[in-house]
């Protein structure tokens, strides 16, 4: 690609930046500035964390006693389905895209995303499918209630026979979400490939950018397969086809392949950027370079690759032939290796460090401990004979909440605190942050540790009622869950009050190394505007005494003047 013919008008034209920087209304408008979009994503997704959390609270309320007494079983099924869907598609993916928007351009020194309008459009699809999804609570028959997997034939039974039913809206919402994610992924990958600052070779990119790239690559490969499966499911549900209906010669298990071909890689889409956040945060608060930076960076793509060939581990007991189970067991276990490389690199970074236990660092260390735990139970699940026993029990639910909330959730909180000063221009309150961490860590552990045993003893997941022998584990879990609900209070309080009246943040409060910290807080609309720095060093040069970019004083001075 040669791009020699520049239109001189582009250079001269002022870049359209709607809304003054201090105008809060821009967060509610079709704004094309990646930093505005990033905050829009994060704000909206935190709201949906509350929605998903509220659903979880009702579920845990139901599960605190063995019989189905709080809600009707059919309602419980809808609740957990919507809980999973809201958490994944309205909380987790959007919040990570928020980080991508904030961090990718600033970390690679790009003025904006490659396609700002596409970026904004991708964001505004989120409220659209949120409305589609949540409106299903109010239609006759209620929302989709066959689990976030939506396995046929149960998902296409359509008891009321209406054309517009919960399942229909669910598929529609997931499809729109897929379109939005693809738009985002194209944008992020193009931006990373083509818009890096001069001198920023691939091995000078921060690990967050690596992980975001690896994750978005997975989106590009996996999402279309899910979309394909969703289209076929929709046709089966509404238009009388029988792709997955045994009566017409279809195969329900085929759907599972479509679903997991995407939804297994999806878990790495979710966790990889969090590995990036871990790498950024640990180095700053250890004041050390990342141990084995190149290994850590490359491991992301090894995970991407392996992540694409293990989906059958969700289907060990569906009648999968033995050879395939054995093969997938091997590939599944292999993922422990690149992941281990990252874990050990973080541990190595702690060696001889000068650790500061700020809120982000606490969340990262807590998340890391939980991740090792959840990863190990993952390896157990990857072992066919054990999965045959614990598959579809609370052991699985505990495994993935250990990662999805106790690791990824923690990483997201860490990221929010760590970059809060940069993108809002205000400092958060450290004390409230630590209260938030303490409550969250204890609540999360109480919530999810005991449920492993419930699963091992044979408590199936997705049940509204259960045998009394599982009661004790569930009582503890529910208490932990309610503690998590309480933990959201100091968090919300912290974010709202410090944004409104927190101390003004300096450009680089943590003395961190990275392009984003050479920008004023908050950064101007075009980041470096007409002075894009030339990168000369690897990231994380703590203690090495090397400048990150050419002419570093210029940028430092300018960031402080703003």
């Amino acid at each position: 690609m040669t791009t020699t013919k520049y239109d001189p008008r582009v250079l001269k034209a002022p870049h359209p930046v709607p809304g003054a920087p201090d105008n809060w209304k821009r967060f509610f408008s079709f704004n094309t500035d990646a930093k505005v979009i990033g905050i829009q994503y994060i704000g909206l997704s935190l709201f949906f964390l509350l929605v998903g959390g509220l659903l979880a609270m009702v579920m845990r309320g139901e599960l605190i006693t063995p019989p189905a007494d709080l809600v009707d079983p059919s309602v419980y099924n809808g609740l957990y389905t919507m809980h999973g869907t809201v958490m994944l598609f309205l909380f987790l993916f959007p919040v990570l895209n928020g980080f991508n928007n904030l961090l990718i351009p600033t970390m690679i020194g790009a003025p904006d995303m490659a396609f700002p309008k596409l970026n904004a459009a991708a964001f505004w699809l989120v409220p659209v499918f949120a409305v589609v999804l949540l409106s299903s609570f109010f239609i006759p028959g209620g929302p989709a209630s066959s689990g976030w997997w939506s396995y046929p034939p149960v998902s296409i039974q359509n008891p009321l026979g209406h054309l517009i039913n919960g399942e229909f809206l669910w598929i529609l919402a997931v499809a729109i979400s897929g379109v939005s994610s693809i738009m985002g992924a194209i944008n992020f990958v193009t931006t990373i490939i083509r818009m890096r600052a001069p001198g920023m070779g691939f091995f000078k990119m921060p690990v967050f950018v690596w992980t975001a790239w690896a994750a978005q690559t997975l989106q590009l490969i996996g999402l279309p397969a899910l979309t394909g499966g969703a289209i076929m499911l929709l046709f089966d549900l509404s238009f009388g086809t029988s792709f997955f209906r045994p009566e017409g010669g279809g195969d329900p298990v085929l759907y599972q392949h479509f679903f997991w071909f995407y939804s297994h890689p999806a878990v790495y889409v979710m966790v990889l950027p969090v590995f990036g956040i871990f790498s950024e945060v640990i180095t700053v608060y250890s004041r050390k370079p990342l141990f084995g930076y190149k290994f850590v960076a490359l491991a992301s793509f090894i995970i991407t690759f392996l992540g694409l060939i293990v989906w059958v581990h969700h289907m060990f007991y569906t009648g999968t032939p033995q050879w395939m189970r054995n093969l997938v067991m091997i590939t599944t276990m292999l993922i422990a290796v690149p992941t281990g490389v990252k874990v050990f690199a973080w541990l190595g970074t702690l060696w001889g460090a000068k650790i500061r236990l700020t809120t982000p660092m606490l969340f990262v260390l807590g998340g890391l401990v939980n991740f090792i735990f959840g990863g190990i139970t993952g390896v157990m699940l990857g072992t066919v004979p054990i999965d045959i026993h614990v598959g579809n029990t609370y052991f699985v639910v505990a495994h993935f909440h250990y990662i999805i909330f106790n690791t990824i959730g923690f990483g997201i909180f860490a990221g929010i605190y760590h970059w809060f000063p940069k993108f809002t221009g205000r400092m958060y309150y450290e004390g409230l942050g630590k209260i938030h961490f303490t409550l969250t860590f204890i609540g999360a552990t109480l919530n999810w540790l005991p449920l492993h045993w419930a699963g091992l003893y044979g408590m199936p997941r997705r049940v509204a009622s259960y045998d009394p022998e599982f009661a004790l584990w569930n009582v503890i879990a529910s208490i932990g869950a309610f503690m998590l609900g309480v933990a959201s209070i100091p968090f919300i309080l912290n974010i709202v009050s410090s944004w409104a009246r927190g101390a003004k943040a300096p450009a680089n409060p943590w003395r961190a190394i990275g392009l984003e910290w050479l920008l004023p807080s908050p950064p101007p609309a075009e980041n470096f505007e007409d002075d894009i720095p030339t990168v000369i060093s690897e990231p994380y040069g703590y203690g090495l005494g090397k400048p990150l970019v050419e002419d570093e004083e210029f940028y430092v001075r300018r960031s402080m003047e703003a």
């Binding site: 396995y151 010669g249 141990f291 290994f295 007991y317 569906t318 045959i388 003893y457 199936p460 090397k546």
Partner: protein, 315 residues
Amino acid sequence: MTSTRKAPKKRLPLRLLAVILISTALDAAMSFQVSRWAYGWLPVPASTAAPYVDDLFSLEVGIGAFVFIGCVGFIIWSLLFSRAEKYDESDGLPIEGNTKLEITWTVIPFVIVMALAFYSIQVNEKLASLGPKQKYDVALNQSPDAVATLDARRDIGPIEVISRQWSWEFVYPDGVRSSELHLPLNQRANFLLISKDVLHSFYIPAFRLKQDIIPGSVISYSITPTREGRFRLRDAMFSGAYFSNNQTDVIVESEEAYDSWLTQTAKRPLVQGLSPGTPLYEKRLKDGDRGWATVPPAPPPMVNDPGNPEAPHDA
């Protein structure tokens, strides 16, 4: 890599080596203990397959505990000894990596997980020989036993396991129908797993056995129970509104008891079998059909032995 300030080169001091050795030994001892406890975290083993699964589980818990305790121990150790003082603004040791170490911690987990995978494959093959499993596609108008090949080494069976929304029905070769599954001790039983509507899963925790049942196919599966008692059989693949009630019991009894049950039951008339969703659904209709949409339960199966759902179970 050129760095202006190189980390001071030093050999592993003896003290450090001793600390590493001692903590590794401690870690190993603790993990060994945890791996012993792991046996107690599972229901009583009641099939020939169970001991293999339990041993594998215990091994993995041991390895997992070793990794977990090691990593967390290191984090705690760092938190104790590598904290910055309150006003200390200095940097840590500027170590950028150590290729040898990095290769080590790539290779060791690789070896561990591959060893684990190959051991598990062995267990897998063993389990397959104890209770082979084969899936056959059936068309609408075919009968399951016409399609499936039965386990040639079965002692009893084939027992048809028919799952519905939401009931279990067991049909014995001589035509006896039951809502509970009776099995003779130490006899290899062969099942034909059939679903009449959606996906279900045939899950008996005490047997460490789980197999999804797929409409449009029939699965031939075998198991040998090794302990007398009453064990839970749970549907483990979400199957709709009353999924959580879709449970029944497996009764493992001596051969004599089993034989007499079979002959006694054959004489009993057909009655409505266990269908836990039905009363709940009727109650729901009576209360005004509130709640979210669900298909009605399938009519209860007609069986010779409706079972005793109130009886306490062992696991």
